[in-house]
Symmetry: D4
Subunit: 169 residues, 8 copies
């Protein structure tokens, strides 16, 4: 089994957020790696990781970081494969991390998801790989359909709350 | 020739920003479509477009919009292929568009780039397709290398400015 | 009994906020519906709902959503009846939801109330319907008068707190 | 002819924005008033205006103001008819006016539209009145349909721009 | 005993903040009133209060309010005596209240203090009255001197914390 | 003639804003000083100025500054007379100056007006002194009345604009 | 033993943040002072402290403050030695303190670190002194190397978490 | 002549801002280097530069960058010498660059100056080196004294503006 996606986080304190992507890959049966590497404290390891990812078969990298979140951009600068950035809320409601990830200069995009949005990062990674993988495309379609079931179910629960002037539609 | 990427904008007033993606595809020889469709004024057309995109062979959609920018998210809700969102600066320095695009709920990611970042959206689309297309991967690598030449050249120009206490390194 | 107002929320986790509107309608004896529908996870249901609302006799729609809150705008795009948007504080103190709801493009207004302001959404809906309904106008006037009593009462409580240099006016 | 809507602005310097609502009413043949009244400089006139509006037959009030924009809320406090607030960008990109209008306390809603969104305020007023006026409902539906034509036309213009790798869809 | 200062709050839920001003006046032996009046729910009472204040001998009004905080500005519009505004943090960290109070249009100033800064509002009121009252000026000077003692004392406590490489200066 | 108010600005580049206060004092015939002193570049002069102001007969100080605007707070720390702070828009739309002036710690208030609000600072200074000066109170009342005339006049101009469906009220 | 660095805080309530710098100096065996001095409540002490620091042998000053944080800038105005500013989160998520410290006017820099970043202030002080002190340079290099070990260790812990589709890299 | 300071900018479009530091060094006769290197487009050159700086005799690095400004932090991660970060206003009034530079994680400080504050970065670099260089300390003290002359001169110009009620102090 060879990993298709690599999840990187700037600090193990981000694990509570980032494991949502890992659990999604478990559910979708997509092999992945997960590691902690810091753009600032282990720059050599980040470089070695980023430059080797494509040749090890990694298709997409998901990088989560908080505060002045440089990790996604720094990795994106050193690999041709797409990098998904997850802003972690570690200060200022996550606004610092969001801007430090999304506002990349021309030439080096980072595909940014919402603050603490690691599940969406996982789904987006699957969608990217599915552009060239029919089987995964089918799984992605099935996953999206399942989301609909959850809200239909939630609406049924809601329909049991009673209000005097409520009309059931 | 069949389009691989579809560029959508909420209003033709966004063309000045969005054509940067179109020019990138011309340069990279990636066939694409470009259209104006409004999530709010032509919802049926948006639905028809989004639901048919995958079967017409589109691999990635790039959607740009300003203000309460719903277009990227609305399209992402109706297709399994990845959607890249470009926040357009039409008010509040583009902060409203950025938040309205990036802060998607769990289940429906939009791969967001920086404010007015249509060139980066184009590059990201190429990177996504290249995960399953070796030839495009080679082109993407070559493109990224060319960026380096530009800054090396810029640094040479800079080296000709003279200051009394400047030391050339 | 036919519903005059329809309350929609993007997720049942918004019920704690949105039920303030429901309770107001119970108090005012205005028949209403309440449902959970997601702009992103059940777009077809949203479309069916929005397009059918007017003909089922709905006069006003109240839609609450958080984060990149598209639900109110998406509904407004598909119905001629007025839509009231309630920004839910699910992240960034609700600022993302506020901007994603209020900053609608020309042509498709959403009548936006304050963050988590579902009670005000209910009152506003009553005021809108009362423009063509004399009986409801009387009720609305009575409700507004009752608000005054509450603050007069509160001021009486306050008048019992004693400070040494306080002068009763 | 009796006015159905009253447009109020805090300062005549807001006319450039607020006249978009007036022109919409001219186009829709909805009789309206337009006046400048300041919550801070002419509070008595504001009070007289707000308290008399309903009995003069006004159905909806549109109030535009910038900076610490109190006018819409102050009027809403003194009338049972719905008040639409238009935040004017006079400082801080209009963010001060937006918050000063939309964040009303429980009991006194202001139906807020986007920054400088006077056209949307006009449309929203028409939608409110149309809840009790079938003829206006028809006009509103026709107006919304006309918006669609504009973007369809814009897309045709866009379809004439040529790119080498563009594919017409 | 006749009140020199009047403390007004928009809601009795603001009492926890506003009583800091009341306690300061008790300490300084400055007679004051304290009441709850809402710009939006009791506009007539506010008007009566504001217009009568000067003739009842009130020298300064302190008004605290949260959210779209109109109370200080509305009072300032109806009295020639200075009004001090206290933004209350009820949402958005108090930023909405701050902007809705401080950004007054030309002609109607509100002397704004920091978010939840009711103690400072009390001190500022004393300073204003002291411009025409020598005895109060002396008290104000004494009060300011007492603040210095507190931080000198705090520094002594700090000097007892021991660190290995600390040098006492 | 002895100055009652002292206007201080952090840099002569702020004169365009601050002279609005000076012109107001000329109009009101209130003697004043106007000087440039920098909290950061001439701290000794600021100290000498602040400590001597009261004994030279100054009743109120108006201090304008931009960016990390320390001048009003630094002066307030060294005098018992009230200090009015004017945030100057020199960067970040003036938000940095506003926060650096208004968010003073407990004990040292600065009476803050809106961004670039020097005219309001002048009016506020007059109101403060008028708490102990009946003649100035009369002038202040007259000035406030004149503001009303301006908007009444503006409304007359507005009444001459013709719209097809306008109704004159 | 003579202190090389002086830590100043605006209030002893900031000690929980500022002691991170003190502990760093203990670990690095760099002699330091630590005191509470308020720019607003004890301006004379601040002046005496700032003007005497260089001659007592202090090489760098670290000043922490919250809200309208003037302390670092006020000290920087009165000494030629570098001043490091630590914005303390006491309100508005620390954004007010950050802007009030970092946005200094031309001529008087404050070396600003992140919100509550007292450890980084300590490291930065060591780096500054190390520009002229070889032994301290060696210690600084060793300290930075130790940071790498922590994240390598954290990554090992992470490697023990098991996911079904995880691939170890 | 060997460079003591190295100025780095992320793009030559930042030269208009960054040359203020260069001119300061010319004026102070401090030898320096100036180059353009991009954290994202030339990561290898940045690494080589950062790792070699100390051994080439560089004492301080000044790095300016806009948007998601990673350059200062990336360099700080690879050198023990102090790094000064200059946020460049290229979007969002420079707020993105400020947060992306100042909010560094524990262990890797960047000494941040104000938005576009390259002159202050130059002065701060001189102050840092002066901690171990007496001659430069003297120059720094002289430079700071010269700033005072400029504002004293500006105040003299201001003293010539005449107002009717101005009193010269």
């Amino acid at each position: 089994m060879k990993a298709l996606v690599s999840i990187i986080m700037g600090s193990t304190s981000d694990l509570g957020v980032m494991e949502k992507a890992a659990k999604f890959f478990d559910e979708m049966e997509i092999p992945f790696e997960i590691n902690a590497l810091s753009a600032h404290r282990t720059p050599e390891e980040v470089e070695k990781f980023a430059k080797g990812a494509k040749d090890r078969g990694i298709k997409v990298i998901i990088a989560g970081a908080g505060m002045a979140a440089h990790l996604p951009g720094v990795i994106a600068a050193m690999t041709p494969i797409p990098v998904i950035g997850v802003p972690i809320n570690a200060s200022l409601d996550g606004m610092d991390a969001l801007l430090a990830i999304v506002q990349m200069p021309p030439g080096i995009p980072v595909a940014t998801v919402g603050i603490n949005g690691a599940l969406n990062a996982g789904i987006l990674a699957a969608q990217m790989i599915a552009t060239g993988d029919k089987e995964l495309m089918e799984k992605t379609i099935a996953y999206k359909a399942s989301l609909k079931q959850k809200i239909v179910k939630a609406n049924q629960d809601l329909s049991e709350i009673s209000f005097k002037f409520r009309v059931k539609s």
